[in-house]
């Protein structure tokens, strides 16, 4: 189904998509998207949505299955509390990406704003993955409870990531292609070298990522990565007295 969304409010647009999904439609191409919010919100079916234009906030919120391709930049709140599916952004994204995300993949070609992957979590086989091709702002992985985040810095900008990386982090893992100065890190994070297993793990995701965006896989993998993990799964366990 092809929808020309020019001048359309998000409510009829999303209703049209929901109704078509219920009717069995599997593929959508949305043209002239300009800031419409909540595209893909709460959808449970494995449909494909191609977005031509810049979608609004909360793209793929509570989403559980669909594959969304954005052929432009995207805004704030992408993959908010997302459970499963895939979002591929051929551009940069705004703030609070992947808040409370519990599964699926979010691949960003360019930069990401502040508060990426806050309180991302995992459960058994559901492991969310966010890969950012450029740089990211402050509070990257704050309160992170699970999942994998990879930050590549391929555009050579500096600093790679803002302050308070992984503050309150108590699960999951962050891989950064390059060095993170200790003053950027939260108190609850430790810096490690990659093991062979780590390299294999990020390799499998990055292969797919490079194919999507046309990056040279060997060049990406050739960089020196840093691994960030929480010091404890219970960072505030000793704060209280009974």
């Amino acid at each position: 189904m092809r929808i020309d969304a020019k001048g359309m409010h998000y409510r009829p647009l999303n209703k049209k998509i929901r109704d078509a999904v219920t009717a069995g439609e599997k593929e959508f191409e949305l043209d002239n998207i300009g800031g419409q919010r909540y595209i893909g919100d709460g959808l449970n079916e494995n449909v494909k949505i191609t977005i031509n234009g810049t979608p609004g906030n909360d793209l793929g919120a509570f989403m559980n299955g669909p594959r969304i391709i954005v052929n432009a930049n995207a805004q704030d709140g992408i993959a908010n509390t997302m459970n499963a599916g895939e979002i591929i952004v051929h551009g940069s994204v705004g703030d609070i990406i992947g808040y409370g995300m519990r599964g699926g993949k979010l691949y960003i070609k360019g930069d990401a704003g502040y508060r990426v992957g806050i309180h991302m979590k995992e459960y058994k086989k559901q492991i969310p993955v966010i890969i950012t091709g450029g740089t990211a702002g402050d509070f990257f992985g704050e309160y992170m409870a699970g999942g994998i985040m990879i930050l590549l810095g391929l555009n050579g900008k500096s600093p790679l990531v803002g302050d308070y990386v992984g503050t309150g982090m108590h699960g999951g893992v962050i891989y950064v292609r390059g060095k993170v100065d200790p003053y950027h890190l939260g108190k609850e994070v430790s810096c490690l070298e990659l093991s062979e297993e780590d390299t294999r793990l990020i390799g499998s995701y990055l292969k797919e990522y490079c194919e999507y965006f046309g990056f040279d896989y060997n060049e990406v993998m050739g960089g020196k990565f840093t691994k960030l993990v929480p010091l404890s799964h219970r960072p505030y366990g000793n704060l209280y007295v009974y």
């Binding site: 509570f62 509390t81 309180h119 799964h233 000793n238 209280y240």
Partner: protein, 499 residues
């Protein structure tokens, strides 16, 4: 460090009556009773939960406060001195459970209801229909009709409750699955609602989802599109009366297999709910989440926003209504909790009576009161509190602690230890087993049935036959022992003043 703290309570065993059946030893979940030739209390461990005394077949056990006197000092109360000792020994934040026990004024007890005499007859609820039913959700400003009878106005989703008392948000994790089952069964039987709190929806209670409020809090535990749609309505939790402005920590030791599944986090990890939702830093952001939920539920579920009663509550509530919420839930500073730092529980927030009056006033002044229902909680202790709250402007009340007491809670304030001897605030299988969900549901239904009858009695005496006719009717309230400023905030006259 060796503790210098004296025991809070003394367990007295009458050894002449005691038959050494050891039932007390088995029942004590705080290790306060041992058996060494005879029943031997370990007073330091006793929390006065009454489990042993209740189950002693010989009535041989009594529990008294430790009569240890402290040198007089109004300023340096024994409690303050004990807290300092505790902190000097540990360096920790003092954690506590249940609601604020401090002697702040209780305004419910300074408000009295009107009744009909002679000129305006009262109604006998035993013989005449008396409606307690109410609808939660946004109401239209006016109704448009097509032709004669068909309604043109599109109505926002409504949830019908048969009694204006809803069970408060208490998560599976803070309380046991059996307690959750009991609340869900009772809510279904009584035509009211229970609230999952931020702990996800256990599959065993999913069958009651028409009567369940599902909560979305900052940790987003167990929140999926299926969860949002398995509900009567969805509540965004911003704050809680017992701990305004701070988050929640469910310690890893309580996250067993089942809780892990419901919250969708690995076994043994701390479930940390950050203080704010990090995607909500403004009313506009809140509106974004409200509509994200409405989109995910196809606009079929009312969305509630729960906040703690704080100084600026009226302006915040106005923002919440303008942000698109269908229900505003306000939790007063006496509201209960499974665990909160004592400093927050006892010193932060404002009384629900004043908050409710301020919010209702503000929404009326701005002409938006119809756009949201108001639910209030934070120590609703009896049906009289419910009636007074509705007369002040609430649509319905929320009860947490009262429902726990109905199930057997003795308000010992040790919920955070996970040792609840009554099987309520615990995840230990041997303790959870003690709470029979069927029996507990019966007790909850009995409580609501009793309150329902009491509310009907009061409505009858007020000469009205529907709870909705009482809402915001502050003329039916009078204050006693309140100063003018308080009366003005509550919007009521002092007793003795007629019309």
């Amino acid at each position: 460090m060796e503790s210098q703290l004296p025991a809070e309570f003394v367990v007295n065993v009458d050894h002449e009556k005691c038959r050494k059946c050891k039932r007390c030893v088995i029942n004590c979940s705080f290790s306060a009773i041992e058996f060494k030739d005879k029943v031997t209390p370990n007073n330091r461990q006793c929390v006065a939960c009454h489990r042993c005394a209740t189950f002693c077949p010989e009535n041989a056990i009594t529990i008294t406060e430790n009569p240890l006197d402290y040198k007089d000092g109004y300023n340096w109360s024994p409690e303050i001195r004990k807290n300092i000792l505790k902190q000097a020994e540990s360096g920790g934040i003092i954690l506590t459970g249940m609601g604020n026990p401090k002697p702040y004024p209780i305004y419910w007890d300074h408000m009295l209801l009107d009744a009909c005499q002679v000129t305006n007859p009262s109604i006998d609820p035993l013989r005449e229909p008396m409606e307690l039913r109410t609808y939660l959700g946004a109401k239209p400003e006016c109704l448009d009709f097509d032709g004669d009878v068909s309604l043109k106005t599109e109505l926002a989703p409504q949830v019908k409750i048969d009694i204006p008392v809803v069970f408060a948000a208490m998560s599976y994790g803070a309380i046991s699955l059996n307690a959750h089952k009991a609340l869900a069964m009772a809510a279904t039987r009584m035509g009211t609602l229970m609230n999952t709190g931020e702990g996800g929806l256990h599959e065993d209670i999913a069958q009651y989802s028409d009567r369940i409020i599902v909560q979305v809090a900052s940790g987003r535990f167990g929140v999926t599109s299926k969860y949002l749609n398995s509900s009567a309505l969805v509540e965004i939790k911003i704050g809680q009366g017992a701990k305004p402005g701070i988050g929640g920590h469910l310690p890893g030791e309580k996250v067993g297999e089942d809780i892990s599944k419901t919250r969708m986090i690995p076994v043994g990890t701390d479930a940390l709910s950050p203080a704010p939702h990090h995607d909500i830093y403004s009313i506009e952001d809140l509106s974004q989440l409200i509509y994200a939920i409405k989109e995910a539920t196809d606009y079929k579920k009312p969305v509630s926003v729960k906040i703690a009663a704080v100084h600026n509550v009226a302006a915040i509530a106005s923002g919440i209504v303008r942000a698109g919420a269908d229900i505003v839930m306000i939790d007063g500073f006496r509201g209960g909790t499974g665990a909160a730092p004592m400093i927050i529980r006892d010193h932060v927030g404002i009384p629900i009576e004043l908050a409710l009056a301020a919010v209702d006033d503000r929404l009326r002044q701005e002409g938006i009161r119809n756009r949201a229902s108001i639910l209030v909680g934070g120590s609703i202790r009896q049906s009289a509190d419910v009636v007074k709250a509705i007369a002040l402007g609430a649509d319905a009340c929320v009860i947490g602690t009262a429902s726990l007491i109905a199930m057997g809670c003795r308000v010992c304030q040790k919920c955070y230890t996970g040792n609840c001897a009554w099987g309520i605030a615990t995840q230990k299988p041997e303790l959870v087993r003690r709470l029979n969900p069927e029996v507990a549901a019966d007790r909850l239904c009995n409580l609501l049935t009793a309150w329902g009858h009491e509310i009907q009695e009061v409505l009858g005496s007020l000469g009205i036959n529907a709870i909705e006719s009482l809402r915001g009717s502050r003329e039916r309230l009078r204050g006693v022992g309140l100063n003018q400023e308080t009366l003005d905030i509550l919007g009521i006259k002092h007793a003795g003043i007629g019309q």
